[in-house]
């Protein structure tokens, strides 16, 4: 805790100490230490004055005084006012205990905070010590600790990786230089309908990622199909499963969703001639 040097100890209002405080408790602890105050018996009036002076100083320096500091100011003033109020006739208990001290809660909070604050120094030391040793594989992994993805789950990065692999596999189509920009035949809606039907037909097993894409691969179609895939995932119509690290990604109808919609799906999905224009239209309508 860097503490700015205090000027004359006689000054009633603390000199400008522009240390960055972690919060109101930090500031209070600083004041308590600076004025050698017994934390168990805080002179609220004095501390409140110092505290408010600090806030005023911060404001004078055009620093934004965070709301938390103001809340603490209010708390201090409240405690002060409660101390000023005449106490109800004290009923001194048998053990000589006096009524509740309004400062009690604040003192407890300060003590708690002080402990954790003290522990920070220890943690920082440990952190530094630990950085003095190197482990195998650390050069490759750095200090990036990453937990393996739980079984049966995978990150969205796996999907991106799969797409990149596919695009690489496709390579350049060698028509660099000239390009005919025609009207795109595939719309996202159509791509979604095609993919959706394909996955539905595959049943509960679903299809693997590579099967989503029509061969030969065309960059535009690949991208459209991938977008369609993402959209279907987003709508929770399908789910993506990867059972092992680096394994195949399977896409299947989301069971939950399918159950919710069984009624309507039956007409569009189980049509024997799935290729028929009719069901194609129905599928398209679904994605309007």
């Amino acid at each position: 805790m860097p503490v700015a040097p205090t000027a004359a100890p006689v000054a009633a209002i603390p000199p400008l100490t522009l240390t960055a405080f972690e919060g109101p408790l930090d500031l209070l602890l600083h004041l308590i230490r600076e004025h050698k105050i017994d934390i168990a018996d805080i002179p609220i009036l004095q501390v409140t004055e110092h505290y408010l002076a600090h806030l005023r100083a911060m404001e004078a320096m055009n620093l934004t005084v965070a709301g938390e500091f103001l809340v603490m100011a209010a708390t201090l003033l409240e405690i002060k006012s409660r101390l000023l109020l005449p106490k109800p006739p004290k009923e001194v208990g048998e053990d000589g205990e006096e009524g509740e001290d309004p400062r009690e809660e604040l003192v407890q909070r300060l003590l708690d905070y002080q402990r954790y604050k003290a522990f920070v120094a220890t943690l920082a030391t440990w952190e530094g010590d630990r950085r003095q040793v190197f482990f195998r594989g650390q050069a490759a992994y750095g200090d990036l600790y990453e937990l393996p993805v739980p079984y049966g789950e995978f990150s969205s990065a796996s999907l991106v990786k799969a797409l990149m692999r596919l695009l690489t596999e496709m390579g350049s189509d060698g028509t660099a230089g000239t390009a005919h920009v025609g009207r795109a035949k595939v719309t996202l809606r159509l791509a979604m309908a095609t993919l959706w039907r394909k996955i539905q037909r595959a049943g509960s097993e679903g299809i693997i990622f590579d099967e989503c894409f029509e061969r030969p691969l065309v960059r535009f179609d690949v991208i459209m199909t991938f977008l369609a895939l993402l959209e279907l995932l987003r709508q929770a119509r399908i789910s993506a499963i990867q059972e092992e690290m680096l394994g195949e990604i399977r896409l299947a109808v989301d069971v939950q969703k399918a159950e919710d919609e069984t009624g309507e799906e039956d007409s569009a999905g189980t049509d024997g001639d799935a290729e028929s224009a009719e069901s194609e239209e129905e599928a398209l309508e679904e994605f309007e």
Partner: protein, 206 residues
């Protein structure tokens, strides 16, 4: 062999020396901390036996003044590491980027609270620190030093947070039991504060 077939595990008997050699080899290739329990399960030995051998290995390395390696008790296991005195040069040789920045004071403060009060909610952390901890919690989650650990059974069901094995590894701790009791810290703090004040007074007088 008749007796061996009765058991599922191959009851190979290792001499202490052989076990130590085997563990040394495994520690050399293992990238993550080696736990006695895991080794014992695979080899069909008692975990205590493996742990003792690992402890022997720790001492063996500690006595080898000419070696640049040590075996650390870390994150619930054992891991081979370079000696701290080599840090600077090894860092140079690895030419690795300095690694992630050290944790900020707010991050350490928040981590301290999680370490002692886990599982703990954001509101509870804020009550101790007196400031908002949202950003800090996100940083700690990103760095995998804390993880979500269920929800508290109070209105709103706030998320509870706990420390991870990575937390232990990051600070070179073997287990959470390595954390000193909080009450002890308060005493140390009071002493340090006095020292600090004294030092400051000296500094000012000079």
């Amino acid at each position: 062999m008749a007796a061996t077939e009765a058991r599922q595990e191959e009851p190979r008997v290792y001499t202490l020396e052989a076990l130590i050699a085997l563990l040394e080899g495994y520690l050399f290739v293992a990238i993550e901390p080696v736990t006695p329990a895991d080794v014992a399960k695979v080899l069909g030995l008692a975990a205590v036996e493996v742990e003792e051998a690992l402890e022997d290995l720790v001492n063996l390395y500690a006595r080898r003044s000419k070696s640049g390696l040590q075996i650390m008790r870390i994150a619930g296991g054992y891991q081979i590491a370079t000696k701290p005195e080599l840090a600077q040069d090894i860092g140079k040789l690895l030419a690795a980027p300095a690694g992630k920045a050290r944790l900020s004071k707010p991050a350490l403060e928040t981590l301290a609270i999680v370490a002692y009060q886990q599982p703990v909610t954001v509101a509870e952390m804020e009550a101790v620190r007196g400031v908002s901890v949202d950003g800090v919690v996100k940083t700690l989650l990103d760095r995998r030093l804390i993880r979500e650990d269920g929800r508290k059974a109070v209105p709103g069901r706030p998320i509870l947070y706990a420390t991870t094995p990575e937390f232990l590894h990051y600070f070179g701790l073997s287990s959470l039991e390595d954390l000193p009791p909080l009450e002890d810290i308060a005493v140390a703090e009071a002493e340090k504060a006095q020292e600090h004040d004294a030092l400051q007074a000296v500094g000012l007088e000079e």
